[in-house]
Symmetry: C2
Subunit: 165 residues, 2 copies
């Protein structure tokens, strides 16, 4: 009967889509990020490794988009990971502006181990989450992302380019 909510009116936050999405993301990731930590990585570094298992040798800007990390931040993360021997950076011979990022042997083995863990964890999650089946929630999210990225007008009337934060 006595939670922190006010009065009679029903609460805004717990029913707000953007909150639900953020909360779902956090809740789903919490455990696995804990596991990642035990392997000496923070979430952004794990994301970089995971992305590189898909796109080894991609340039910084591509990697930034793929890993959802802002470019200058990614640059700094990559420099650190390079120092730790997880990745190496080589400038692209065809285009000197580009820096291509590769997994080292060490980086790759850690990445592959964690990707395997992630797949098991995901399977645990999806199979134990039975109220919908896994494929369906994923399809829903994919459709939502695609929908969101295709730049629909809305009453906020913001420039699409400025909506990057």
């Amino acid at each position: 009967m006595s939670n922190i909510l006010e009065d009679g009116k029903d609460p805004f936050v717990p029913n707000y889509l953007l909150y639900l999405l953020a909360a779902a993301s956090e809740a789903a990731s919490a455990r696995f990020h804990g596991h990642v930590r035990t392997r000496g990585l923070r979430a952004p570094e794990w994301r970089v490794l995971a992305c590189l298992t898909d796109t080894d040798g991609s340039m910084v800007t591509e990697l930034a988009r793929y890993a959802m990390i802002e470019q200058s931040r990614l640059t700094k993360i990559i420099i650190q990971m390079d120092a730790r021997g997880l990745v190496k950076r080589r400038s692209d011979p065809k285009d000197g502006r580009r820096v291509r990022v590769f997994l080292t042997a060490k980086g790759r083995s850690l990445a592959e181990e964690l990707v395997a863990d992630a797949k098991r964890h995901e399977l645990d999650l999806l199979t134990s989450f039975k109220s919908r089946n896994g494929a369906e929630i994923k399809d829903t999210l994919r459709a939502l992302i695609q929908h969101l990225e295709s730049d629909h007008p809305d009453h906020l009337g913001q420039n699409a380019e400025k909506a990057n934060s």
Copy 2:
């Protein structure tokens, strides 16, 4: 034909549930956070205001949970918002350890304005996202969160308490 993906094997990241959740959350929030910025707030501050419209006068720890912000971080954010005249802090007369956080008139009017904007934006989103209906995606997310918070064992075998990052 030539994207950044490797070879034949299908990519891990774009099909990984935790990535989809994070990407969906980011994509859904990007625009609105841009709008929030135009009102002089960053996302965490907006979250605090929104939460206080539900739970005005709650203590710091409660607010931290509700807004999904780590306690010591929230303390600092609240101190700034106090200085800006958006909230005020009063220690609880019944329990001197507690600090209760209240909206000021200024904070409340900004909060209410943004909550109204948020509701319109959410409606835009849900109505323009027709491949599922809004209620359904929300129900799915709610069920997922609840499922995740109810601490199922998994192969990672981590302590539930250490899974807070």
